[in-house]
Structures are given as C-alpha cells and as structure tokens.
C-alpha cells in the first residue's frame, strides 16, 4: 500500500510523469510560439537540456536574502505541484478520490502563488519585490473568479466535491461543457488558468522586458531549474483540471485515447494562441477585468447551474 502511494506520488501521475510531460509540452509551447513569429523554434529535447544544464550551474545565495526562505520556496512550490498533479492524476487515470478533492486543490494552487511571493520577496531585490507584489495582486484578482467557476461542477454533479464522482456523473450524463453554465465556466476557467500560470496577457509578475522575470530574477542554478520545471508542470496540471471538471475526464478504451490526447492538446493550443496574440496588460487592468467582468459572468454561470441549465 505504502509502495503504491509512493509510486503514485513519485512516478506515474505525480512527479516524473508530470515533469516529463510538462517539459515536452513546454517544447510544444516554444515551438508553436516560434511558428507564430515565423521562426523555426527549438529542438525537441530543448527543455530537458535547459533543466539539466541549470542543475549543474552554481547557485548564488544573495547576501541580502533570507537564506532559508530563498532556498525552500522553489522546492516547496515543486512539492505542492507534485501533490496537485497526484490528486488530479489519480482521479483522471484511476477514478479515485478522497474526501475533499476540489477544496484541497483550490488551497494548493493558492499555496503555489504564496510560494512565488515568498521566494520573490526573500531575495531582497527591488525587481523581485515588485514581481512578488504583482503576483499577490494577480492572485487576489483571479482567485475569486476561479473559486466561483469551481462551484459550477460541484452544483451540476449534485453537490459532490470528490473528483471521481464528478467524473462519474459526467460519464453517465454527458460532460458539463455541453450545457450553458458549463461553457461559461469553462471559458472563465481558461482565463483564470492563464492568469494562474502567468502567461500573456497576464504575465505581469514576471514581465521579462520590464522587471526581468520578477520573483525569479535572483535565482540561479538548481533553484532556477526548479522554478522552470514548476512553470512547465503547470502546463499539465491546469489543462487536466479543466478536462476533469468540465470535459468528462479521459476514457481509455479504443478511440478514447486519441480523443483524450486531442482534448489536452486543444486546450494547450488555445492557451498558447491567447499567449501569442495578446500584449501584457497593466495590473489594474487585470484586477478590473477579473473583478468587474469575469467574476459576475462566472456568477451568472453558477446561477444557471443552480437552475439546471
């Protein structure tokens, strides 16, 4: 039993699987972005090379930094993402869940942002502090809409917060994305994960041209490698979460495998298209967008879900 738990955590839906798939999808992202700009793009194993190269570099601990927080933040963030990917992966691949899946995942995604804020503010660098502050504001902006859209699958599945039961309801009576409330929640969810992953147009915290990667500016070597890996792991976690909550999970019989891959690639492609066709917005614009437009629309979705539409 313990061996299986460790296997799930470290190998299949957890660390190894998510890390490798994330780095490969990261290549897909870079390649597609390059094609958008009429460039050729990096080779297939580029992200692996980057990761292993960073593992072998020197780690510089900044003199003004709070040493313990500076070191622990990327590793804790990595642990948090491993845990989220295990919970989501177990529900998707093994139809298993425990008591409060959605609530735990909600808290853990928030914990990741908190780790970014802690890591950024521990470095003692001005740009990092600005980045951490922006990350905090962005978290406040997207979290409300994110929580509201999480209510939609809960309501539509008959007030279940277990992932396996949400999937079971969808496989019995069609995915939630087919209904009006489901499609509204799905679209708002796409925007929320765009902000949670700090992709354009919401890459305000790590704006490379403006505050040089923000919270990650002072990181070097293995710690930076973990931040990069965290970023690519989120390319797996959040699309899987959307598929799980709104698109009926995966079926692994016959043509279902192809359909599962297509669903995942489609969501990632839409994310990359949004990323490549939008400029960076200001933090107040982002806050305005999420609080004034996205959250009320998501709330309408919840009302529709209660009415059963």
């Amino acid at each position: 039993m313990i061996a299986w738990i460790l296997f799930h955590l470290f190998v299949f839906p957890g660390m190894l699987f998510t890390g490798i798939l994330g780095l490969l999808i990261g290549w897909f992202d870079r390649k597609l972005s390059a094609r958008f700009q009429f460039r050729k793009g990096p080779p297939l194993f580029q992200n692996f090379n980057d990761f292993f190269k960073l593992l072998g570099k020197e780690t510089i601990i900044v003199k003004e930094a709070v040493k313990s927080v500076f070191i622990i933040a990327p590793l804790a963030a990595f642990a948090v993402l491993t845990l989220i990917s295990t919970i989501i992966g177990l529900a998707l691949f093994y139809q298993r869940g425990f008591g409060g899946d959605i609530i735990v995942v909600m808290y853990l995604t928030m914990t990741f942002s908190v780790m970014v804020i802690l890591g950024g503010s521990a470095t003692g660098n001005v740009f990092s502090s600005i980045g951490a502050g922006r990350e905090m504001k962005l978290l406040l902006a997207d979290e409300l809409a994110f929580i509201i859209i999480l209510l939609v699958p809960i309501i539509k599945s008959g007030y279940q917060i277990r992932f396996d039961q949400i999937i079971a309801v969808q496989q019995a009576s069609g995915p939630f994305i087919g209904s009006a409330s489901g499609i509204i929640a799905f679209i708002i969810g796409m925007l929320c994960i765009q902000a949670k992953m700090t992709l354009a147009p919401f890459h305000i915290p790590e704006a490379e041209t403006e505050i040089v990667e923000g919270p990650f500016m002072e990181y070097s070597g293995p710690l930076l490698a973990f931040w990069k890996l965290n970023h690519y792991m989120m390319y797996v976690i959040f699309p899987f979460l959307l598929i799980l909550l709104f698109w009926g999970g995966f079926q692994f019989q016959g043509i279902g495998i192809l359909w599962a891959v297509l669903k995942y690639v489609l969501i990632v492609t839409v994310m990359i298209i949004i990323k490549n066709t939008n400029p960076r917005i200001r933090i107040d614009t982002a806050l305005n967008f999420f609080w004034r437009y996205a959250s009320p629309v998501a709330f309408i979705g919840v009302i529709l879900a209660v009415l059963g539409v």
Partner: protein, 139 residues
C-alpha cells in the same frame, strides 16, 4: 563532465552586457533573435538577468570607467560562464585604441574566451562564434 558539457552546449543562455557601446553591436545581437537568423533553434536564449546567464556578450569601448562595472557583472554571474567580446571595440579598441581612458589589458578584469571582430560584426559571424564555442564544449 562530458555529458554535462553537451547539455550546456545545447542551451547557452546569453546575457547582454553593454559597456558603453554605440548601440550598433547591440542591434546586431538582437538581429540574431529575429526570424531571419532565429538562434533559438540552437537552444540559445536571451535572458534578462545575469543570474540566469551562461554567456556574457560584452559590447562597447572597454574604458577605465566601465571596466570595474563589467568585472562586477562577471562576478555576479553563476559559474561556469563564458565571455564573448562582440565588436572591434572590445577586441582591439577600434578607433578609440589610443584614447587616454582605455584599459591596457582587458584580460586583467575578465577572462575573455572569444573575440568576434567587426564594426558591427555580421550576425553570421556571431553565429559562427557561438558554433565554435559549442564545438569547444563538445570536445
């Protein structure tokens, strides 16, 4: 370290140190990222922070005022780090070589691994320099 050097050769992240240049070399460096030359296909990325860098591209006149600052940037970078001197200014001093404020020995400040002469050097020349660096790393 052969295996590690191969990884390093495939993902050289470049940081751009402009030490009082006339901006000509800088524009040519940025040319490398455009669709025509697209240096990302060799795994090379322009990073904004010196902490992420593997290669420092030094441009500009190496005078007494800027030399300590370039040395400071070099010390802030995580090792192993390579320094490529872009342009005739860093390589030979260009038309400023007899100036009163020039540093006589650049190598006392930072070890320069490679010189790319030219005013400004063509992007092809810079790609060749990078390819040579990759060849050295691969052994």
């Amino acid at each position: 370290m052969g295996w590690y050097n191969k990884r390093l050769a495939k993902s050289l992240w470049v940081f751009h140190v402009s030490g009082s240049p006339c901006n000509n070399c800088d524009i040519e460096i940025l040319d490398l990222l455009t669709p025509r030359y697209d240096i990302e296909r060799l795994g090379i990325k322009l990073v904004g922070s010196v902490r992420h860098a593997d290669v420092l591209l030094v441009t500009g006149v190496f005078n007494k005022k800027i030399a300590p600052k370039i040395k400071k940037i070099y010390e802030q970078a995580p090792k192993p780090i390579f320094v490529v001197a872009i342009g005739t200014c860093v390589s030979g001093g260009c038309c400023f070589k007899d100036s009163y404020n020039m540093v006589e020995k650049r190598e006392e400040f930072i070890p320069i691994d490679m010189y790319v002469p030219g005013c400004p050097p063509k992007p092809e020349a810079m790609i060749e320099a990078v390819a040579k660096l990759v060849g050295v790393l691969n052994g």
